[in-house]
């Protein structure tokens, strides 16, 4: 692709990601409604889809207020950071054999780096708000990041071992015979949980836990700044779904249908699964979350790593 094409495609991806995240806010509410035996927003437009527009108008016309006790510069910077980091993460996702923005040989590391950067946004937002609930939310976010980042990276090393590359396109191509969700099922399980924790989705939304911390790290945020945090969260959900598709479910690979359709279909199913988790599972206590991370998930990941390495060596020797 030429330089201009890449820029154009990048803009398309940004528009699709942001638009998708906006639609997701409505879709999630409808789907939660289905699973909780109610309707959700169904009034405005066909199936209530214009609810997105109504929400947007409401958020845009709200007073864009910065509390006088907050650290102004950081307070304004924090919500932007999460959106920027998450959107940058989309740069390495291969949507099809020729549909990608960046084809770098450390694509996976780039993705991990960007999701880690997004955590700073939550942390800084909590710190800059100068509010005890926000601070507690930021604190939890930091601790959650430390414990879940560790095995998030490690859980992907099995995939990297099998492929022998950090390049996401190479990883997808290597799954032509068998999707990695079968040989790497443990890796998939741990990455799934780490992914939910990383994007602060329920049941791991302890940084905002509205029952205990009012709204956690975004207690003091309103209007468009709050919308940016929400956008970041939904972008994170999209990004994690894209990455799971790429790494474990064969990315764009699939018979009959064009590659991009397969990719979108898989991402859609994964998003539905994430929403199902939100509908079904209650939020764990904070110490339970930490215990799960360090006592169960990390050993499982290491076990997976060890087994994958041993089998890979055996196969190579044979």
């Amino acid at each position: 692709m030429s330089e201009l094409d890449t820029i154009g495609f990048g803009l398309v991806i940004i528009a699709a990601a942001v638009g998708g995240a906006a639609i997701l806010t409505w879709f999630e509410r409808r789907l939660l409604g289905v699973w909780q035996d109610r309707y959700g927003p169904n009034r405005l437009g066909p199936f209530g889809v214009l609810q997105v527009a109504a929400d947007m108008i409401k958020l845009l016309t709200k007073h864009d207020w910065v509390p006088p006790f907050a650290d102004r510069a950081v307070f304004v910077f924090a919500p932007t950071a999460i959106v920027v980091a998450m959107l940058l993460g989309f740069a390495v996702v291969p949507f099809g054999p020729d549909l990608y923005i960046l084809d770098i040989n450390i694509g996976l590391l780039f993705f991990l780096g960007m999701t880690s950067l997004a955590v700073y946004s939550v942390l800084l937002g909590g710190l800059a708000s100068n509010n005890k609930y926000a601070l507690l939310g930021g604190l939890r976010s930091a601790a959650q990041m430390v414990s879940y980042e560790v095995f998030m990276g490690l859980s992907l090393m099995g995939v990297v071992m099998l492929t022998g590359s950090f390049n996401l396109r190479a990883i997808v191509e290597a799954q032509r015979d068998l999707w990695y969700c079968i040989p790497q099922c443990l890796g998939l399980f741990t990455f799934l949980i780490a992914g939910i924790a990383e994007s602060h989705r329920l049941p791991f939304d302890l940084p905002e836990a509205e029952h205990e911390l009012t709204a956690g790290f975004h207690t003091e945020y309103g209007g468009m700044k709050f919308a940016m945090f929400m956008l970041g969260e939904y972008l994170g959900l999209l990004l994690i779904s894209c990455m799971i598709t790429t790494l474990f479910f064969g990315g764009w690979l699939g018979p009959w249908l064009p590659p991009i359709v397969w990719f979108c279909l898989k991402v859609f199913v994964l998003i539905c699964f994430f929403i199902l988790l939100r509908a079904a599972i209650p939020r764990p206590r904070y110490d339970q979350l930490m215990a799960l991370g360090w006592k169960v998930m990390l050993p499982l990941t290491l076990l997976n790593l060890l087994a994958t390495g041993a089998i890979a060596l055996l196969l190579e020797g044979a």
Partner: protein
Amino acid sequence: MLSSLTSQLRTIWTILQHSFTKAETVQYPEQMPYLAPRYRGRIVLTKDPDGEERCVACNLCAVACPVDCIALQQAVKEDGRWYPEFFRINFSRCIMCGMCEEACPTNAIQLTPDFEMCEYDRSNMVYEKEHLQIDGTGKYHDYNFYRVSGLAIKGKDKGQASNEAPPIDVKSLLP
């Protein structure tokens, strides 16, 4: 650990099964919810089977009302019947508790299954007698207070009510 994992998986499965159940929601303005006949909503004043107003202005409802939203003034008609000169319920205070209905000795004041009484102006929530009075008998079709009470009115003397014997003349020796 394992049992908690299976519990979580079972939860997910149960929720997934709810994809095929119908929503419980009643879509209110288009779809009216069922309200029981004895639902406690808007208050009305009823008339007896003969078309006379039942209220005898005894003030028991006003006394029973825990929020003091009922005001009325008693008056007497030429034929001896009692009636309220005015009868006023301030629905912005009313809590629809139904105490007035229970206190009423003549079944005049009754609560109906109607709750749609929003107003833009608070003063419109004050209902006068002409707003409260209905032509029907409400929930009790055959009851007529003056037909069963011992009170003498024009055209019905003491002892002429139904289930009532003529008064005994205590000063007479006749059986």
